[in-house]
Point group: C2
Chain length 403, copies 2
C-alpha cells in the first residue's frame, strides 16, 4: 500500500482525495497496490468531512512519517510550498504538484534534489490542467526536436474571448459575467494580463530547451484591449482571436511570448473554445500534434496530480529523467520575432490607403460593412522592430494584434 499526504485541502487538494477514493479500483489495478490518503495538511479543520480525522496542522508529522512515500502539494504559491517540497524530496518522498508558480520559479532545483534522493518531482497538473502534456513531452515525443509550441493555456481568457466572439459583447461585460460564474477570479490580473499563460509557456519552453526559461523574461500582453470590433474584422478575414503562449526557435534565437493572436479557422486551435485548453506542438519528424482538454477545474487538475502519484508509486526509488537544468536560457528580444500584424486605423480608407501602402508594401486592406470612419490592414511578415519603425510613420493607428 502506498500512503499519500495532501498539502492544502482547497479546490485541487480536495479533488485529489476525491479522485483517489472514487477511482480506487482502477488505480489499484494500475499500480499493483492500493493508494490511500493518510494525511491532509491544512490550517483549518473540516468537521463533518470524511477526512476530518486525517487533518494535521504540523508538516513535521507528515515529513517524519516513514509510511508516507508520496506528497501532493496543492497549496499554491511559493511559500511555504517551496520549503515543504524541498524537505519532502530530501527525505526521499516524491512530490506531485499542481503549483505552476513554484514549478516556474524553482522547477529545475527541485528536480535535481529529487534526482539526488532517488525520488521524483512531478508537475503534470501545472500546465494544461488535466491534459497530458508534460508526460508526452518527457516520455513520448522524446525522438523529436520541438521547434514551436502554440498553446491556449488559460481557460478563463479563452472563455472570455469565446463569449466576446459569439455574443459581440465587450471585454468588461464578459469578465464580470465570468467572475459571477466563478470562471474568473475577483482579481483577474493573472489571467487577463497573460501571467498565468506566461508561467505555463515558461515551463513548456524550459522542457523544450532543457534550460530554464524564466517567467520574468517572457513578454506578456493580455486580452484587456481586445474589442468586439476586432472579432468582426476577424470573422471577415476567416480568423479568430486567441490568447496564445508561443515558444519558437528560429535563426534569430529562442522566443517565449504570450499575446493575443489572430489565427486561421483551419488551425486546430480555432476549435478550442470556452474554458478548454489546446497545445499545438510542431516538431521536426512528427510535424503538428495537439493536446486538448480541460485546462483547469477541480477534478481535471486533481486527476493529473493523481496520475503523477500513480507514476511515483510505480517507480519507488527510481528517478525518472527530466531534462531541465537550472542554467538560464537566453531568450531573444521578442521584438525580433517575425510575424504578420493586423492593424486598425481611424479615418477614411480611400484617403489613407495609398500612404499606408507606401510604408507597408504588400499590405491587404479590409473594411467592415457600413463603417466608414475606420478600417484595417494586414501586413506582410516582419519583425516587430520593423513594424514599430513603419507604424511610427502612420497616423491614427487604433490598435495592433499579432498574427
Amino acid at each position: 500500500m502506498a500512503q499519500v499526504a495532501v498539502l492544502g485541502y482547497g479546490t485541487v487538494g480536495s479533488g485529489v482525495v476525491e479522485v483517489i477514493e472514487k477511482n480506487s479500483d482502477v488505480i489499484s489495478k494500475r499500480v499493483g497496490e492500493d493508494i490511500t490518503v493518510k494525511y491532509v495538511l491544512d490550517l483549518r479543520d473540516f468537521p463533518g468531512d470524511p477526512i476530518q480525522d486525517r487533518v494535521v496542522h504540523d508538516y513535521d508529522t507528515i515529513v517524519n512519517d516513514k509510511d508516507i512515500s508520496i506528497i501532493c502539494e496543492t497549496m499554491g504559491g511559493i511559500n511555504p510550498a517551496y520549503e515543504f517540497t524541498k524537505k519532502a524530496l530530501m527525505a526521499g518522498k516524491s512530490v506531485c504538484t499542481s503549483n505552476k508558480e513554484l514549478v516556474a520559479a524553482h522547477g529545475p532545483e527541485l528536480i535535481s534534489i529529487a534526482k539526488a534522493n532517488k525520488c521524483n518531482y512531478f508537475f503534470e497538473a501545472s500546465v494544461g490542467g488535466g491534459i497530458p502534456i508534460i508526460r508526452p513531452f518527457n516520455e513520448a515525443l522524446t525522438a523529436e526536436k520541438i521547434d514551436c509550441i502554440m498553446g491556449i493555456l488559460n481557460g478563463t481568457t479563452n472563455y472570455i474571448l469565446s463569449k466576446m466572439e459569439n455574443e459581440g459583447a465587450a471585454f468588461d461585460t464578459v469578465l464580470k459575467e465570468a467572475q459571477e460564474k466563478g470562471y474568473a477570479e475577483r482579481n483577474p490580473e493573472a489571467d487577463v494580463e497573460g501571467y498565468d499563460a506566461g508561467r505555463k509557456i515558461a515551463i513548456l519552453a524550459s522542457l523544450v530547451y532543457g534550460e530554464t526559461v524564466k517567467f520574468e523574461d517572457v513578454f506578456t500582453e493580455g486580452i484587456t484591449k481586445i474589442a468586439p470590433v476586432d472579432f468582426e474584422y476577424a470573422k471577415k478575414l476567416g480568423l479568430t482571436i486567441k490568447l496564445i503562449g508561443l515558444e519558437k526557435e528560429t535563426s534569430e534565437g529562442r522566443f517565449a511570448v504570450v499575446t493575443p493572436r489572430l489565427i486561421g479557422s483551419e488551425s486546430p486551435l480555432a476549435g478550442v473554445k470556452d474554458v478548454f485548453n489546446g497545445i499545438l506542438v510542431h516538431s521536426n519528424m512528427l510535424d503538428y500534434s495537439m493536446y486538448y482538454g480541460r485546462g483547469a477545474g477541480k477534478l481535471p487538475t486533481a486527476s493529473a496530480v493523481v496520475g503523477d502519484v500513480i507514476a511515483a508509486a510505480k517507480n519507488p526509488g527510481n528517478h525518472l529523467t527530466c531534462v531541465w537544468e537550472e542554467k538560464a536560457c537566453s531568450l531573444a528580444d521578442y521584438k525580433k520575432l517575425a510575424q504578420k500584424y493586423f492593424v486598425r486605423v481611424a479615418g477614411n480608407m480611400a484617403e489613407l490607403k495609398a500612404d499606408i501602402e507606401k510604408v507597408f508594401a504588400g499590405a491587404s486592406f479590409v473594411q467592415l460593412d457600413n463603417v466608414t470612419d475606420e478600417f484595417a490592414f494586414v501586413t506582410e511578415e516582419m519583425t516587430e522592430l520593423e513594424y514599430d519603425k513603419k507604424a511610427a510613420s502612420i497616423n491614427n493607428i487604433k490598435s495592433m494584434i499579432r498574427m
Copy 2:
C-alpha cells in the same frame, strides 16, 4: 551505448533509421547514452544506401547478438513478425513495433512474455501513427475511468471524406486521386472498409478494459456508400461526416464499432481534417481530452517507434506495466448501441412525412434546396434493433448514417 536492430527496411523501418540518426543529439541527451542501429534485417540488399553494411538476412545474427538490447519490428503482417518478436522477448530484448495487425492479434501474449523476461513490448506507433496515445493511456490518464473513445483513426479515409466535403466529389473519384497521390493503397479495402480503424479501436478498447477486444468482434462499416449528397444534408444540419472508431461502455455493456458518423461542427473532431487523426477520449474525472496529429506517414510513425526505443533504453531490465490480459472481452451486440440516425428517403416529403412521424416519433425533417424527389430525417436516440424494426415499415429508404 544502446544498440538497436531494425526488422524490415520499408517505409517505417527506413524512417526509424532516419529519426535515430538525424535526431541523435537530442536522443542521446534524453537517454543518457547514444543509440545506434547495428543491424537492419531485410530480404533485399541496399547497395549505395548508408546502411548497406549493416543489412543482414538471417534473424539469428540479431537475436543471438548480446549487444542488441532493443529490436524495432517494422515488418508488418503476422508472420514471421510474431515468431521474431517472441524470440526477441524471450531473449530479454525489448521490441518496439508499428505493427497494429500483430498487436491486435497477439498483444497481450507478447506483453506477458516481455514481463516474464523483464523487458518491454511497446506499440505506440500501432495506433495514431506519431500521436502519443498509448503512452498517455498507460502512463498519464491512469487516474481515470475511460468510458468513451471516439477516434478518427485512419488518415486515408479522413482525406477522402474531407475531399468529398470540400469539392462535392464522388467517393470513387476521390479514391482514385488518393491512390495516384499515394495516400491510398492500390487495394484500399483495409482502409475504406474500416478494417484498419477496427484494429486500432480494438487495441485502444483492450487497453481501456484490460481484456482483449478481438478485431473480429468489432463491427465495421466503411465509407464506400457515403455520397456527395450526404455532405449537402450534413452542411445544412451543421454537421460533418467522419469515419469513427467508437469504444463505449454503457449499462447495455461494452461496445467497439467502426462506422461513418455525422458529428457536430462544435465537436473537436470536426476540425480533424485531411490525413490527420484525432482521438477524443471521455473519462470520469477529466471529461473530454483529445490527441491530434499525423496518424500515418514514414517519419511520424517512425518517431513513435523511436520514442518507444528511448523508453526501452531508459528502462533496461525493467518491465513497465501495461494492463492488458489475454482473457477475451465480451462485447455487447452493436445493435444494442443507442444513437440517432440520419435517414435519406426517396419520394416527396409532403406526402410521406406524416407516415414517417407515426413510426419515428419526434423525427426532424430536412430537405435540400431545389430537390423534390428525396428528403431526409433525423431520428430520436434509440438502439439499432429498434431502428431496424421501425425502418422496416418505411418504404423507399435510400441510406442511413449513424450519429
